[in-house]
Symmetry: D5
Subunit: 150 residues, 10 copies
């Protein structure tokens, strides 16, 4: 039986070969490119209908086994080590290491004691044009959840 990791590799290789865009796949299933990309890389689960529609856009005809994998709620965690080695991903880890206490202080100053949800959460990745060199903008929003008192 194929594993989810192998299916992810198959999708990534196919994207390399055919050049389809996450945005087009997202349009077909009525989701953003960010949600769609995360789902295809094994971090979110799809419905049967979404699998079919996505497969059509991507030019992949998913087998029943593959469809089941795409529909299963995944064991999340997309990286091979708990401290990432890939430089692009490490930069985000570095932001947590360096600015983690800053996020904590600013969120608690504004909202009180609680957290930003990583579940009731959405994000976007956008290009900001800039004459000194274009910039990547990552916007994350999550519901503020206060600690319950009882």
């Amino acid at each position: 039986m194929m594993t989810r990791a192998e299916l992810t590799e198959k999708i990534v290789a196919h994207k390399m070969m055919t050049g389809f865009k996450w945005e087009d796949v997202g349009d077909a299933i009525g989701k953003s490119k960010e949600w769609t990309c995360a789902a295809m890389l094994g971090q979110l689960s799809l419905t049967k209908e979404e699998v079919e529609k996505a497969g059509n856009v991507m030019g992949l005809n998913f087998s029943p086994d593959e469809t089941a994998l795409l529909m299963t709620v995944p064991y999340r965690g997309s990286l091979p080590t708990q401290i990432p080695t890939d430089p692009l991903i490490y930069r985000f880890y570095e932001i947590v290491m360096v600015y983690g206490s800053t996020f904590k202080s600013l969120i608690e100053e504004e909202f009180g004691d609680g957290i930003m949800s990583a579940i009731d959460y959405d994000m976007s990745v956008t290009r900001i044009e800039d004459p000194k060199g274009d910039r990547v903008q990552v916007m994350m929003t999550g519901k503020f959840l206060p600690y319950k008192s009882y």
Copy 2:
């Protein structure tokens, strides 16, 4: 001699007691509240002038030793363990673990092979009002740096 960590604790305790706002400190030194908070928590370095102005707003009269600490380029990394245990900070780590490969795929689709800089970088933390519960919005922008070929 006081350590930088002890100075951070002193500033945080003083903020608890007096209730000053990072934004007011930032206004006094001409920086954003995010930059100012990170600097005061030991992740960025200040000039002598900034230390003085900030001290005035915060109601802290920094000694020469404390001023030197605030002016020194710090050994960065604000957290006591490499996988954070504090729930607010952990949520950001979780985002890296779960969506790290998504960031990689989306940035490379849009920009090609490279990274989002965590140095030529700025960020903001804002409240988004929402009838279903207000949301925290974290916006990060960093210059895109392509891998050099040579």
Copy 3:
């Protein structure tokens, strides 16, 4: 300056000496014994009024510095190592290791894809009398949070 960990030790030693009960402290501040115990051990923050009332019941006259510490939102995480060595606490870690996938399967079967919140969360610890030996009952409830789709 006293650290939060030292204040926790002072409270614990004082409890040993005087025998006050968490429930009595909780009654004085209108909170459960579970919330109160967690707050006093440095995992939740109190208001100025709660600190005073609690101090009265516990027979401790908190100084302004100690009061500030009790009012500060803590950097959470109560244990010295990421895999606990204390046998009582390890048993809970063992439950996560052994039954983690069971929790995941049962919660997802009943609720769909999402998590049980550890923030909008409460818990109780109770004695269940049993002729074969009394039992500890730990009840945890947390709001179900579904993954957002967008």
Copy 4:
């Protein structure tokens, strides 16, 4: 030879496809849905008769090798890393990190020096309806075991 992990994956995939419920499997073998789910995911061992009855409800005809695997006492531990990355399971780990010392203080206040058994142990996972959003209730009970003195 199939490994236990591969058998677990086969069962999980089959559940995804056919939609059987852990409760129905549990009813067939006279066990709770929690015990049954844990056993099928490789954390408890079944008798030959239970394997057969469970297979009938699940629509799986276990081979002799698979039956042997389901009857073997497993090497327990259901997760791929010692700090879980899956957000649902991590929340339980977070509860141990944050409230571990609270559990210790409350259990020892009530029972004296000892532990809650994780072997003479049962648990349930239930939905609590709530107008502000349904809640997950996890109830754990374990026999209190006092430290032996000798």
Copy 5:
């Protein structure tokens, strides 16, 4: 305030100087030498009366603070690292690494699925005279606890 670790060091140094025996301390409080040694090294808790009697034998007049420390239920775990470096203690860790699966197979063959309790547990350390070189005998007994089915 003295920590428990510092009190342990004080007791150990005093033993070095005066040469008292664990067995004599145990006799005074009606416990075995093994239980007494573990308690004095910070792994078990004593009653007020035991502290006094033990202090008399050891020639140490414990202060109220020290008495409180000896009466408190400790955060257990006597070693500075999770893999011990001291050769005497490492040998026991090695036995777990090498013979762990043997213990599991033999206990399960004899008793069925369950564990040997480390709480309802006692142990002894004895010299076995042997012409080829005396031997250390460590005998551990713990109640067998079967996994509960429900």
Copy 6:
């Protein structure tokens, strides 16, 4: 080529199916059940003759490759992680963590500076009948080795 780990799994599965006892295998080769079990699980090496005799009792006809594996001195260490997750095995690790300094103090009090050998070592696992619940008794004896002075 089969690995030693795969051969161990084959032997364990065969034991599950046929129900042979380690003691009977041990009797056939003139060794204790403890030594025999450890050898079959890959921690000790057998002679060619022992392999044959053991195979007869177990009902397994070992191939030349399997025989070679059973005769090879193994790379020892029977567990997949350096801190065991299986509850039965973890209890022994816990004993080292909690009582390690006690073993050290008692052995050194009795014997002087040195260790209990884990090589010139034998052990037994026995059932102790007890009306309050049967107990597991593990007895370990190892030669005392004093530190050499030179």
Copy 7:
């Protein structure tokens, strides 16, 4: 499907057998030997045209699957453990451990607060003849990136 690691091994083995030089491969694609070697070992991505030309020099006729792998942006990180065991590579890690704070002090003295980029980066490895034994010279240059203030 072949993995990138397997393709790397195939290339390395082929180099062993045929003795082609990285410099010749680099010349064919208009890149330095350092860039070319890193790309072939899976740390940089090539264009379709570069894959073909490189294949010709190396005497390898890459299949479409292999070509796709060589064109894909890799998950970077070329070593099996986070602290390298290979002596040649460990020496570079040692340089970071021993001289890391020296690099920090010297770069900050010369350039102010910022970093040397590891992305807008190039390097060379050269032989320096020396009568006392030839020396390896590694030259790294990276763009200085100052911390942004905002």
Copy 8:
């Protein structure tokens, strides 16, 4: 007694205050700025004479204890964790992770089986002016040591 780490902090703070340059210190003792900086940060040992001369340039009058510390061969390793968190230093670690196998392949192609010494080693850190942004150049040279055959 002062530790070496505390002396390092004193020197670094003094440099912040007075602005002396490593190069000037190096000139006074006849060493490069790189060697001098590393020595002052606790990674190399100085002679009594060098300590005095360096102290004069730095405006620090070292006590006999401090002089002894500066003369002692240090336990090397300048960083608080085995994977650095400071972004400047991490970039060098990243270079090892990403290009470690490239260094190995290039050095072995040119020199045969062996290593670049990190002991018979020198380095320099220089500014390279560049209209697109100045660059940091780090040059390392170490004697090539071939594996001995015997």
Copy 9:
């Protein structure tokens, strides 16, 4: 394609079956038994001629692929974990842990600041007959390398 680890296992199994001696293999290629054993276990590289001669003595007819593996400079590091679990190998690690600072002090007293090379290095393993039990003698010699000053 066979990996180097699989080839090592094949050689070890073959040695078990046929009983050839490392010394005889070494004699055939003009190397010591220590160098030869290390090379065959994947830590040093052989020439084509050595592979052939060694194969003749060992009774193994290496294929071209196997020959290439034996000729390739290996990624060194012969153990599956960074703290060894095998008792024989652990004893050497223990010697480093316990006597590491002793080696450092003695070498620096005799030679000054520097290291013993592990590359320009040879070793021998010999039996020392002793009426109280034969002893293993391990002799290591490595060139002393002083830290370079510049």
Copy 10:
């Protein structure tokens, strides 16, 4: 109270200042320089008489507390991390990583299944003069201990 680590630092600093030799200390107490150095660095225990004689040679007048520390059996392990960062000590660790399986194969070929004792163990560190550069010779001998069969 002084810790053993602080006493070690005091002895090392005193050696730096006065230049006494380990050999002279060893001669005074009738032990080798290796044993003496290890004992003074906290890895072996001395008798009261040895402490006095050693103190005389070293020019240190040990207090009763210091004497007690030198007489106590230490918790062994002389290094701050489980993978050493100091280059001199790391080289020995590297030898274990690279040649560990070679030691195992050679010792087992010569002696059968067992280990070299690290307790009934002695060692020497000597200078070997060599025109190509003097060499460090480390000789270790330990009693061979065969695995017991029973």
